[in-house]
Assembly symmetry: C2
Homo-oligomer: 645 residues x 2
């Protein structure tokens, strides 16, 4: 900034043609009499308000430029209007007054926060200054984020006692009392407390406690660790990989640098920035529907948009949340999360321990009523909308990670030798589980799992259809690498569909398709598309295999790779267009080449990333699917992608 | 087989126009008087020899057809010549004699073993019956195998005491005394015993014992387990995954079904069939150079062949063996095997434990003289031929798998706390090491490793050049997924090359290239080829990532996949043309598109597989590289590929 030299009746100031914090159409700024521009910037003297209308309680006693130099102020106000009309956007203006004369020093497009960006864009369109298309392009999709989560007030955060920092894994802010186990989180929550769950790292068995907590904080793990993925899926505040935490779990204490905190102590987290503060701080609640301009902008966006936005949701409540945010279907309903409930996991473990097909089938079939209930709930919540349900995906050992005591209990319950249980667990151990016996490889080896899941889905769909609910289940075979795997599993599903149709005396809508998440599936997409009715790109795993990166293990080198620009960005955050993207394009082309009606979507983490959404639109996908809290972001990003085409 | 009904002066028989066991140009067969065809086949009666010339000690006393029915025999011999001349290949003839009249029942191309196939092909070409091209196409490359390894005599094997079966991981036969540890193998070998090393499974620390043993036998592991890979690399007999073995290592005993064997007991293995026999059985030694027709055939093959055949070899002795078998260079010299020697692994461990760059560099530089000596040995053994040396590839934890005692020893030696060693080892643990911190990701994180290795190679090359030895080192950066990784490592290598050149006052030939073993490297091969001077496809890892298969873990489902035809063949044995092959073709096209002189080869296990070699030729590769004992097979397969084009 360059300001002139100041004389006696001189002044200098900075002004915005609209309020950059709220977006309101008011002339807003600061000025100092007899001052250098640096004085305004340096903050050594408290600047004065620009005009009477924008005075606050804090600045009520200070002179405004409007009252001090009314003529010059009205000249400046006139210039403000001219500049904004000329540039058709909010301007950040620097001015100086030298010996009673107004000099304009600089004007540029003003920075604004998310809420202000939305308000300005919508207001300017309504005022006729810009058209709707321009308004839609004025808001960065990520700027919607602050409306979708509770946030910390900037001023409160400035004054808070900062403890430490971790990776910003789940956005928004949260405040609560520290608990050290998932069970405690649930118990405290039940008695009405707000808690933050603190763990070294989380595992599927912590999910009930994670759900009960306001936020999750872990010492280990990266942006795609279990805690991070689960939290983002729920739109929950989460900070991971916070290496300053030294957790003494048996004593329920944690040491953060020189601060010791114990169970029940309050902390506040800014998950958007990855920052942790001591004590209970006030939050600004999220309620985008009350934001008039947000609703307006999203309506305009939806009018333009053709790319459908679905959500990744595994429960009826997630589904309902996502619908509120504008989801048009479920793109990924994972079924494995449904198995960790106590009653169900026992059946799952019996299935794993069975040494013959009969016992295995009996154990699997115990799960049928549970699964059916799950699907009734979700399909009903998504009535009239498509729901893609992925068949069981993770390796079996994830269901049987047990302590010594638990092994004994399980052995007693099932009535077999403890050593037999141990032997089976050891036998399931894999050197590279990501590349092991999982996905459809499970269904091929244990067809009864596929049968049970297909039956649960189709019976649920049939019963709902009978009661007049419109259902569109899309059954998705995971981790297909060869068309023969797809055919094997598809055959089972279609046979069950036929059986269910004859048992219930009616046929229902359903599709069978596959998750495209291996390079080989992309390379042979034409073969697969001859049988599959839809493709859904699982870009998380596709990125893992294309790069040869294990998301769980890249923590040891990814930060360095990003720092040294060996990678321009984390390919798990934004789709790698040059590499992974080529496989996606190829698969779309090969797939549509043999089946022009092939429905194609994406359900990896990238489904909520604006750059990746651009790529999906350019490549002719029908939909993207993302976590519920990213649905509005995806809606705007998709609209912008279409406006750019 | 259909034979007529037989009368009194009747007979029936089977004859080959040449000897199917030896390939000799002699009329060979069996007959029975007053017999049905089934009698010959069923083996209830001992058949008679066809003629006097082919009588053996066992059949000397039996009547030949030549002596019993001379006129009919000479008529049959005449027909034999006509048939062979007509079909220009060895015929398997069925005949019958009814009431003094000869009837021809059937003729077809006769089956033959490998040695016979070679002899017949070369003889027929020399006799002018077929041309050289036809001769070259008559021998299946895999038929050379029996000439390249000691074999069990079929008759001896029939009478031997069969114990059990495993996976045929390394071909040929071996006989030796059982030992239960790698150290014992080495000790027994040193005192002149022939041993077979028996292990649950092997690890890099067993390599010295595996080397000392005649053969390796493991209870666990698949066709691509550590034992299998190492054994095949050496052309050593090996049987893995033999689940009938119940090893009692502390007592040095093994139970195989009802048989108990102890240390020092003899067994004999047929590695080609995966069969294990009790006791010491005689073997037929391998010495292909003494086989006149083999040499002749291979000379003809080399005259035609343009595709170069290199070998995967890590030591001067392997290199020499490969040259004897016709290798024209080294396509893959792995450097990590060089680090397991006792003195070296200590430096490696010090490097891993170093908590600062200075100590790390000092530890790495301790390895320089060792590495340099390794490279002098190999480059000298391969004088005049190119040698591709791959920089360090495996994850660091492979070098620091320690027992509790070893941890203590190491801590004492390095002078740090035991807990610190343990913490570092735990820190190196990865969930999916195959997709973790390895390959060039190591060199990027620890550039001193790349510097040390580049210096060792280039100093070795310079010293040899000074003494008049022609060297062509090709420095290969492993596991590149982005051109930026390649550039990072290439820059280090070229800088060291410049330093060495100025220190020694001379420049040497060298190239810098990369192993293409990730889908992303194939997809961005054009970017990489702008800088890399050569590509070498690492099709093992490329297959793992393209399919999302961990070679270590597919044992739980691959056999079932093959049985049920979900996979037509094991993609680690023969290149998956439809999937992995598409990536290879794409990379060749993209790479040569920006650099038409780009040297391209393949160094995965597929380099020794005839079908894969066909694919490599079709795709314009310059060379294939395989284990020394597969070099002759590759030479013939490459020739056939060219003849088919």
């Amino acid at each position: 900034m360059v300001f002139g030299n100041m004389g006696d009746d001189s002044a200098t100031g900075v002004a915005f043609t609209r309020n950059p914090a709220t977006g309101e159409n008011q002339f807003y700024g600061e000025w100092l009499a007899n001052a250098q521009g640096e004085d305004v910037v340096a903050g050594l003297r408290t600047p004065n308000p620009l005009n009477e209308a924008t005075k606050t309680a804090d600045t009520q006693h200070l002179p405004s430029l409007e009252s001090s130099m009314p003529e010059l102020y009205s000249r400046l106000a006139e210039i403000r209007t001219n500049l904004e009309n000329h540039y058709t956007d909010m301007q950040d203006i620097e001015f100086t007054i030298e010996e009673g004369r107004l000099w304009m020093l600089q004007t540029r497009i003003g920075k604004r926060n998310g809420a202000a960006a939305i308000k300005m864009a919508v207001d300017m369109a309504n005022e006729g200054m810009i058209d709707k298309k321009t308004a839609l392009l004025r808001v960065r999709p990520s700027q919607l984020d602050e409306l979708l989560h509770p946030m910390l007030d900037v001023e409160i955060e400035k004054r808070a006692t900062y403890l430490t920092k971790g990776l910003p894994a789940g956005p928004g802010a949260a405040t609560g009392q520290l608990v050290f186990t998932a069970d405690d989180a649930e118990v405290w929550r039940k008695r009405g407390e707000k808690v933050i769950l603190l763990r070294e790292e989380t595992s599927p068995e912590d999910v009930h406690g994670m759900h009960a907590a306001e936020a999750i904080l872990t010492a280990k793990g990266g942006m795609t660790s279990h805690a991070a993925l689960v939290a983002r899926g729920w739109g929950k505040c989460c900070i991971v990989g916070c290496s300053d935490l030294h957790i003494d779990a048996p004593n329920r204490e944690v040491y953060i640098k020189d601060t010791a905190l114990k169970e029940g102590d309050w902390i506040t987290m800014n998950g958007t920035a990855g920052k942790i503060y001591q004590g209970e701080l006030g939050l600004i609640p999220a309620d985008p529907d009350t934001h008039v301009e947000y609703k307006q902008l999203m309506d305009w966006a939806d009018d333009v948009r053709e790319l459908k936005i679905r959500t990744n949701a595994d429960t009826p409540s997630d589904s309902e949340q996502a619908i509120k945010f504008g989801a048009e279907g479920i793109g990924l309903c994972r079924t494995e999360h449904m198995f960790f409930d106590e009653a169900r996991i026992l059946a799952m473990r019996k299935m794993i321990l069975a040494d013959n097909k009969k016992d295995r089938r009996a154990a699997v079939m115990e799960l049928l009523p549970f699964q059916k209930k799950d699907f009734v709930g979700i399909l009903k919540a998504m009535a009239g909308k498509p729901v893609t349900i992925r068949l069981l995906d993770p390796p079996l050992h994830e269901f049987i990670t047990l302590t010594d005591n638990q092994v004994k209990e399980l052995a007693d319950h099932v009535g077999i030798d403890k050593s037999k249980v141990e032997k089976r667990i050891t036998g399931l151990h894999e050197l590279n589980p990501m590349l092991g016996h999982r996905g459809c490889r499970l269904g091929v080896a244990y067809p009864e799992i596929t049968e049970m899941q297909a039956r649960a889905i189709l019976e649920a769909a049939t019963e709902l259809t009978k009661t007049g609910v419109d259902v569109f289940p899309e059954i998705m075979i995971p981790l297909v690498g060869t068309v023969t795997e797809f055919r094997d599993q598809e055959t089972i599903v279609r046979k069950i569909a036929k059986d269910v149709a004859s048992e219930f005396g009616m046929e229902v809508n359903y599709m069978v398709g596959t998750m495209i998440e291996l390079p080989r599936a992309c390379l042979t997409a034409d073969e697969i598309a001859e049988h599959a009715e839809f493709f859904s790109f699982g870009t998380n795993d596709l990125t893992q295999t294309t790069y040869g990166f294990s998301r769980d293990d890249i923590g040891s080198f990814l930060p360095d790779y990003l720092d040294r620009k060996i990678l321009a960005h984390d390919p798990f955050q934004s789709l790698d267009v040059n590499g992974v993207g080529k496989l996606v394009s190829m698969a779309v082309k090969l797939g549509r080449g043999v089946n022009e009606n092939l429905k194609i979507g994406i359900c990896g983490e990238h489904g909520g990333d604006p750059n990746s959404i651009h790529f999906c639109k350019e490549n002719g996908l029908d939909y993207v699917s993302c976590s519920p809290f990213r649905v509005p972001i995806a809606r705007l990003a998709a609209t912008q992608a279409e406006l750019h085409m």
